[in-house]
């Protein structure tokens, strides 16, 4: 079974040289730490930046330079800054190659619920609805089951949706799965020490297991 860092490490393997990548808040943010050295990857921040750098050194924080999580960051050489409309313009126009975000639920047809729990204080969708509606390559990073032990991979989402038919791949502490165009979670890899039965038990939606399922290499 993977911890959060493990999930981030596995997702980092999906990133290719030359990609522009948008990382959501939470586990997706950790992915930045595992991008292979020597790979040219540009991180997009939807408030209006291409070229997010590491956190600043203590005492060098610039209040004018933050990421979409409102954290102080540095800005790498070769960066570009633009307004928020252009930022979502490049997302809508599919210029950003990969979007990695968290979720509360994903359904077997690729619907995602990630912003609202009825009865609880709703903070808002931020840029998530724009991202999932436009991005062609969406990976969800999340836990396989919620705190109550219920599967987050469902036949149909029970929570209000963020977007429909959009999730392509899911990485959890147990497995890597692909969402098939015709519906269903196709099991691609098992986390170290996890067997197919455990993944089946934790998946409420249709899990498709074909042949031998390899263990992840991280």
């Amino acid at each position: 079974m993977l911890d959060k860092e493990g999930i981030a490490k596995r997702i980092a393997k999906e990133i290719k040289d030359g990609y522009y990548v948008n990382l959501g808040i939470g586990i997706p943010t950790l992915v930045a730490n595992y991008i292979p050295k020597g790979m040219d990857v540009v991180l997009q921040s939807e408030n209006g930046l291409l070229g997010i750098g590491p956190f600043p050194f203590e005492g060098e924080e610039d209040p004018d330079s933050i990421n979409a999580g409102k954290q102080t960051i540095t800005i790498l050489p070769g960066s570009a800054i633009f307004d928020s409309a252009m930022s979502f313009g490049m997302i809508r126009a599919k210029k950003v190659n990969l979007t990695i975000l968290g979720a509360m639920e994903v359904s077997e047809n690729g619907d995602i619920a990630s912003w609202k729990i009825p009865g609880k204080m709703v903070k808002g969708m931020g840029g998530a609805m724009d991202l999932v509606a436009s991005a062609e390559n969406i990976i969800v990073a999340m836990q396989h089951v919620n705190k109550a032990g219920e599967s987050k991979l469902l036949p149909k989402c029970s929570l209000p949706l963020t977007g429909v038919n959009c999730v392509k791949k899911i990485v959890t502490e147990l497995a890597v799965m692909e969402v098939l165009p015709e519906g269903g979670f196709k099991l691609l890899e098992r986390a170290p020490g996890v067997n197919v039965e455990e993944i089946k038990t934790a998946t409420a939606g249709k899990l498709i297991v074909e042949g031998e399922i390899p263990e992840m290499v991280i």
Binding site: S45, E46, N47, G48, L49, P54, F55, P56, F57, E58, G59, E60, E61, D62, P63, D64, S65, I66, N67, G69, K70, Q71, T72, I73, I75, I81, F82, D83, S84, A85, S87, F88, G89, I91, R92, D111, M121, V122, K123, G124, M125, G126, G127, A128, M129, D130, A133, S134, P160, L161, T162, G163, V164, N165
Partner: protein, 251 residues
């Protein structure tokens, strides 16, 4: 050009021809009245028009509808206006870093319309470009789409979202000149340029105010035609919402 005070302006339409420079935030917000719709630039606490917000708190104007990506924190940004119960409605993409906001929302004192961040930015942009509406895929298949017109282009569904109408847009830039041309700094740019374009009347507060001609025309982010009033703010607090750092030894 000689600076002309906003106090000399009676009719909002006159803003189209007045000169730009005013002496203070108080003067800039002078004509903002109860019940108006305001756009406020900034993302989180970054690039906030903090001087105008302070002036609005002082002025005590009420029943405002505020279009702003976020709602500030309890003691900074729009949070200060919420505390004084000046806001009737927030139109934002992400809120709730703010206990007073949550209290007013749950008690029904405050109305909130949550909309996707890209839709928010682009509805501002549409207003500034003179377009009545935009089509975006954001929100298709979700509760955001309820009651809205959907059009299919090339096999994909899009929501029609209307351009915003705001009485005043209030933005923060790094530098401005006496013609109202603006230059932003780093990610403090965010919503400011699109909101600057979208207000019926636009107020810009800047850290540095220079004479016309001192900004290279090639470097202007917001042309002065969109800006009706500009003033220099002093002693910007520029509060940091999430201070994240790394230690030098980890470098």
């Amino acid at each position: 050009m000689m600076p002309l005070g906003a106090t000399s302006i009676i009719n909002l339409l006159n803003y189209k021809i007045v000169l730009k420079v005013v002496s203070s935030a108080d003067e800039a917000v002078h004509d903002i009245q109860d019940g108006m719709t305001l756009m406020l630039g900034g993302f989180g606490l970054c690039g906030l028009p903090e001087k105008c917000i302070a002036a609005l708190v002082k002025k005590g104007v009420k029943n405002l509808t505020c279009i702003s990506n976020n709602a500030g924190v309890d003691d900074f940004g729009i949070g200060l206006m919420l505390k004084q119960r000046q806001v009737k409605k927030m139109i934002s993409s992400y809120v709730g870093e703010n206990a007073e906001f949550e209290r007013q929302l749950l008690s029904g004192e405050l109305e909130v319309e949550l909309i996707p961040q890209g839709t928010l930015a682009t509805r501002c942009m549409a207003a500034g470009y003179g377009m009545p509406a935009i089509f975006t895929p954001a929100g298709i298949g979700t509760e955001v789409a309820v009651g809205k017109e959907i059009r299919n282009f090339n096999g994909k569904d899009y929501l029609m979202e209307m351009a915003f109408e705001a009485d005043f847009a209030i933005v923060k830039a790094w530098k401005g000149d006496t013609m109202g041309n603006l230059v932003y700094r780093s990610t403090a740019r965010n919503f400011n340029p699109v909101m600057a374009m979208a207000g019926k009347v636009t107020i810009a507060e800047v850290e540095e105010l220079v004479e016309a001609g001192e900004i290279d025309p090639d470097h202007v982010h917001t042309p002065g035609i969109y800006v009706h009033m500009i003033f220099k703010g002093d002693n910007y607090e520029k509060r940091i919402e999430q201070r994240t750092v790394r230690k030098k030894d980890n470098a």
